[in-house]
Symmetry: C2
Subunit: 201 residues, 2 copies
C-alpha cells in the first residue's frame, strides 16, 4: 500500500487528471505543481495557507485558480529567489507528505520524497494525443493551430526538463527515475486510474 | 481484460521471470524469445513444434533449454536468412496470439501484434540491479567481474536495440512504444507480477 504517490507528467498527457482521480478515489490529498509554487511564492499567504493545507482533511482537493497550463509559470528574477522558492517548496512537500497520504503532481516531489519511497509515476503520451488534449482544455477564445500548440508543448517540456535537471541532477522523464511510466495515448484516464488504484492498494 | 501481453526487457531486469509468473498465475501460455527463434530456425522441428504449441493447453509453459542469456544468439549468415527467420517468427507469434491468451517475451511481439492491441510492457532496472541479477543467474563456473558483466549487458542491449529498430523502425525501450514501463530496481518481481495481474484482469 502506497501512502505517497508522485506524478511527473508531460503537458497534455492527462497526468493532472490522473492525479485528481487517484486522490478522489483513494481519499488522499491532492497537490499540484501550481498550488505548491503559489504557496511558496506568496509568502504573505503561505502561513495560513500551509496551515490550512497541513491541518486539513486529507481528502480535500485544493482548487487551481488558473485556467490553462500555458498561462502560468513562475517569473523568478534570479537564482537566489529560485532556490529560495525551491527550498520552500521542498519544505512544504515534505510537511504535506508527513501529514497525510497524498498525490503530488510535479515539482520534483519524486526526488524530494525519495527517502519516503513514494510510488513514482511518469505520465506521457504521443504528440497527437497531447495536442488533442491541450486543445480540449484550452480556453474557448484560444484558437491555436496544431503547430502552435505543439510549439508550446515543446517549450513547457523543455522548461520542466531544465527545472528537473537543475534540482535533481537527473533527466526528466527518463524511465529509470520512475517506478512506472504510463502511456495515456488512446486510453481513457479513468481506466488507467482504476488500474493504478489496484496497484496502490 | 488483456488476452495478450508482450514484454520487452533489458537483460538482467527480471522481464522473463515476470513473464513466467504472469503466465503461471493467469493460466496463459508463455513464449519467450529463444523459444520463438528456435522454432523459426529449426525448420525440421517447426511443424511438429508449432503444432504442439498451437494446439496445446494455453497454460503450458514451454521450457527453455539453454542455460544463460549470454550464450544464445541467432547466428544468421545473411540478411535474407535473417528476414526469413523474422517472417517465420512473425507468423508463429501471430498464430500463437490467435490461438490462446499468452505472454510473449521479446522478438518485437509488441509491434507484430499491434493490431490486436496487446498490453505492451517494458521491463527495466538500474545498472547495479541488472548486474546483480545476471550474477545470480550465471552458471556456477562463470566468474565474471561486474565490469565484464556490464560489458555483456551493454552488448546485448545494443543487439536488441538494433534488432528492434531494424524490424519496427522504432527505438527499443523508448517509453512511447509501450503502455507501461516497469522499473524492477529494488523490487521483488513477485510483487510486481501480483500488481500487473490486477491490471490485466
Amino acid at each position: 500500500m502506497y501512502k505517497l504517490v508522485t506524478i511527473g507528467r508531460q503537458l497534455g498527457s492527462g497526468g493532472r487528471e490522473l492525479g485528481k482521480r487517484l486522490a478522489e478515489q483513494l481519499g488522499y490529498a491532492y497537490y499540484d505543481s501550481e498550488v505548491i509554487t503559489a504557496i511558496a511564492q506568496k509568502t504573505e499567504l503561505a502561513e495560513s495557507y500551509v496551515k490550512q493545507v497541513v491541518e486539513s482533511n486529507p481528502s480535500v482537493n485544493f482548487p487551481i485558480t488558473i485556467g490553462h497550463s500555458f498561462s502560468f509559470y513562475p517569473h523568478v528574477g534570479n537564482l537566489n529567489q529560485m532556490t529560495n522558492i525551491y527550498v520552500e517548496q521542498s519544505n512544504i512537500i515534505t510537511e504535506m507528505a508527513d501529514k497525510s497520504p497524498c498525490i503530488i503532481v510535479g515539482r520534483c516531489a519524486d526526488y524530494i520524497l525519495r527517502d519516503r519511497h513514494p510510488l513514482r509515476l511518469f505520465v506521457h503520451a504521443s504528440p497527437s494525443s497531447r495536442i488533442e488534449r491541450c486543445r480540449k482544455k484550452a480556453p474557448e477564445n484560444e484558437h491555436l493551430t496544431d503547430k502552435q500548440i505543439w510549439r508550446n508543448i515543446k517549450r513547457v517540456d523543455k522548461q520542466r526538463a531544465k527545472y528537473y535537471m537543475f534540482y535533481t541532477g537527473h533527466k526528466w522523464g527518463d524511465k529509470i527515475n520512475y517506478d512506472l511510466c504510463v502511456n495515456t495515448t488512446d486510453v481513457d484516464i479513468k481506466f488507467i486510474a482504476d488500474a493504478i488504484i489496484k496497484l496502490i492498494k
